[in-house]
Symmetry: C2
Subunit: 112 residues, 2 copies
């Protein structure tokens, strides 16, 4: 639960989300990731470092290149946390549905 800080913080930046979206298509190098953006390469390198330290991406070495790819673990962890909220909302909806159904079918029903 500690890494959620870093993971959500990393996701809060649109450049970093765009990088992740690109990585969803497959592994990519720093230069490839930097290409669509107007900011400098050092800035991209730092974004990548943030993503790496947050656990959202993994890297390997291929000569001078350091390709990046998505890291399943962190994404799963985030998903698990959000599931809590999702389920809470679903539960609320169910409850509401129940109330509405009760109102509809049994107006002023007797209940000991």
């Amino acid at each position: 639960m500690a890494n959620l800080n870093a993971a959500f913080s990393a996701l809060a930046d649109p450049t970093r989300r765009a990088i992740l979206a690109r990585l969803a298509l497959g592994e990519a190098t720093v230069m490839e990731l930097a290409e669509p953006f107007q900011i400098t390469q050092p800035a991209i390198s730092r974004h990548i470092k943030v993503l790496e330290q947050s656990g959202l991406i993994l890297r390997r070495s291929e000569g001078a290149k350091r390709p990046c790819r998505l890291a399943p673990a962190a994404i799963t962890e985030i998903d698990r946390w959000l599931a809590m909220l999702r389920e809470a909302l679903e539960a609320n909806y169910s409850r509401l549905d129940g109330v509405l159904a009760a109102m509809d079918s049994t107006p002023t029903q007797d209940r000991p």
Copy 2:
């Protein structure tokens, strides 16, 4: 896609995530939300403001109280964005499974 900045940024703070977790149990007032924490009430008020402005929570007025509850829309939006990564990872796994299956069942299979 614009609100994702604010939403993820809001989620990056553990106090705010704890507030959301509390709200998953149901509506709560500022004082109720502040109770488990050691930080001051103004600090909690500001966390709530951040959550509200990010769209993650909704509020109503009940006399002097301003109870908070989870907002389905923002949470759904986050979920949709993460689904992209989730599906990408699943696709990668499938591809890997395919490769492994091919290696296992048909070593050096001919393919025009």
